[in-house]
Amino acid sequence: MERKASELGLNRTGIKTSPVNSKEAIEASMKAVPSSPGDASAIAQVRVEFASEVDGLGSVPPPVGLKGMAKTAVDMLKGGRTTVFIDKLGERAGFERTGVRLYEAVLSKLDVFGTWEGGPSREQLERIRLEELSHFALVTRAIEQLGGDPTALTPAAELASNLSMGVPRTLVDPQVNLLQCLEGLLIVELTDNASWELLVDLARELGHEALADEFQLALDAEEEHLALVRDWLDAGTMLEARVGQEAAGAPA
């Protein structure tokens, strides 16, 4: 494992780095008076005001055709619960597709940094990448069956993408090593597991039993991904901690 995550070095961000300057800065701050009274709750007032006045992220697109999907399409046109289903399916489609790109990014890190005992192998990462792609195909097909447009960006997809935006951004950063990337994968896989669970429940609730069964199989695969990521992260972190102790001459 090259380039450790937790090297000791000259970190300048703490207040104790500059005892003389920090003393002056603290004194000046203590003497000054805030420019206006109140506290951080003033910010909340603005948030409340804006949230009550502006529109939402956007809408779920209407079904693209009626042929062969009459029941769903009619439900959707009536604004029934299927709209929620299409929204959440759109979310999974986007998430799984981004997941493929995330594992591609992590594979590059494996090339640079190598792995460790109990860490991910190329074969494992490539297999998960393909499974994410397969889940994307599964969801795309489900949306098409329901008369939805799988290329549409639904509000749930937009929301999920924005919530997790830091993960792709971090995984492609050359400064981030393979072990650090796994922290990102953990966030993604935890969310993915919970989201597939919800999707299975929703499919059953809406009477799409066949889809629910297929989604359950995807969930099984995602559970394995999560277990693997946890194990890799665990092994890597413990290894770093042990290597650190040895370097410091600490007793084993």
Partner: protein, 398 residues
């Protein structure tokens, strides 16, 4: 049609007011609004950005104009804020970038079609094909790094295919300076076009220079560095189309006319009622500015503004797909380059340009790397790969 620039007075300067909330409360929907609403917002930010850029330069070189410039500039500052803050916060910088290139393609195409001067029209077609290629490169980046579909933003109005390859757009600076129009004989529309496309490209350059380094992906950083360099070339090209012998006040008057024209064009096409209201308000504000500057121009230069301004506004910028025009231009002119002020076949490029390009591309080409083998498909290039893979009924790959 029918807006008489010399008669309409608009809203007087002292009645042009803003509050912080007013400046920041409106956004369009990335999901639900038409792509051309984003195009208009981005264009108008560029127009306002140029008005500030010009105003500051002018103030540094004209003692007597400093105060009038400061008065109008403050309003323009707030107009720019209101316009640019209509971009929603859930639109990522890369998504806004895709919007920038759509502006460059569709607005430049509209200008190229309506431009009365053949040389200037050629300059617009030339630049348009280069920006067209940038859209394709950024689309590949969006698809391949984030796993998302660029057509979320483009909405099928523009093709996502290669244009003149970015890697061969790099030219020696002296091959980007063009022949200007003659201020005494040029059609007012030519003057308006040159200024408005310069404004759009200048903001694109500045935007890429600001957001490029915020990316973590090394290919993204290199791609922004590469395309920002072309945008600088484009600013050099487009600004050189304006007659440098126009007086400062003459240029100021033209700036105000461009602003009225652009907001008027936005108003003509806008489908979002809350945003349409902004375009109407700013048509009226800009008429106020134009009227004010016209007074200064006539008082200081003792010339009639009708020498400079068209009596009636020209046909609005066409905010719509120019697919057929772009395809025709692509097929006829993709192999063009420039040598000095002339547009020439690639074989007639200057040695200085060849040497320059060879050197800057000598460690590889980001735009080639990012789009290697890239073919956009609805739902991203992964759709086809997923279809080939097939859906495993077990939910996992065997």
């Amino acid at each position: 049609m029918g807006l008489d620039l010399l008669k309409e007075k608009g809203v007087p300067l002292d009645r042009q007011k803003f509050t912080w909330k007013d400046l920041t409360r409106r956004t369009y929907s990335k999901l639900d609004d038409d792509a051309f609403t984003r195009v208009r917002v981005i264009l108008m930010n560029g127009i306002e950005s140029e008005s500030l850029r010009f105003s500051h330069a002018c103030a540094r070189m004209n003692r007597d104009l400093r105060e009038p410039l400061a008065l109008i500039r403050r309003v323009e500052q707030h107009q720019q804020t209101l316009v640019n803050w209509m971009n929603p916060g859930n639109q990522s910088p890369l998504e806004t970038t895709v919007g920038f290139e759509q502006v460059a393609i569709e607005v430049t195409a509209s200008v190229a079609i309506h431009e009365p001067d053949p040389y200037l029209a050629q300059a617009y077609r030339f630049g348009m094909l280069e920006d067209f290629d940038h859209l394709y490169r950024y689309a590949a980046l969006y698809d391949r790094v984030e796993g998302k579909d660029p057509n979320y933003l483009i909405q099928s109005y523009s093709d996502i295919i290669p244009g003149r390859p970015t890697s061969i757009e790099h030219r020696h600076p002296l091959d980007d300076v063009r022949q200007p129009y003659d201020r005494r004989t040029a059609d007012p529309l030519s003057k308006i076009h040159a200024l408005l496309i310069t404004a759009a490209e200048h903001q694109t350059h500045d935007y890429y220079m600001n957001i490029g380094p915020t990316f973590t992906d090394p290919v993204a950083r290199m791609l922004y560095a590469e395309i920002a360099s072309i945008e600088e070339q484009h600013v050099t090209q487009y600004e050189s189309l304006s007659d440098p012998d126009e007086s400062w006040l003459e240029k100021w008057l033209l700036h105000e006319a461009v602003e009225v024209y652009c907001y008027y064009s936005c108003l003509h096409y806008e489908s979002n009622p809350r945003i349409k209201e902004v375009w109407q308000r700013f048509v009226d504000y800009e008429l106020g500015h134009l009227h004010y500057v016209r007074g200064l121009f006539e008082q200081v230069e003792k010339r009639d503004a009708s020498e400079i301004l068209p009596a009636e506004l020209p046909e609005p910028i066409r905010f719509d797909s120019h697919r057929e025009f772009v395809r025709r231009t692509l097929s006829a002119e993709v192999d063009m380059s420039a040598n000095g002020t002339r547009f020439v076949p690639r074989a007639e490029e200057s040695d200085r340009t060849r040497r320059y390009r060879e050197e800057i591309n000598s460690e590889g080409s980001p735009s080639e790397i990012v789009a290697a083998g890239y073919q956009w498909k609805p739902g991203t290039e992964l759709v086809e790969k997923a279809a080939r893979l097939g859906v495993q009924t077990e939910g996992r790959i065997q």
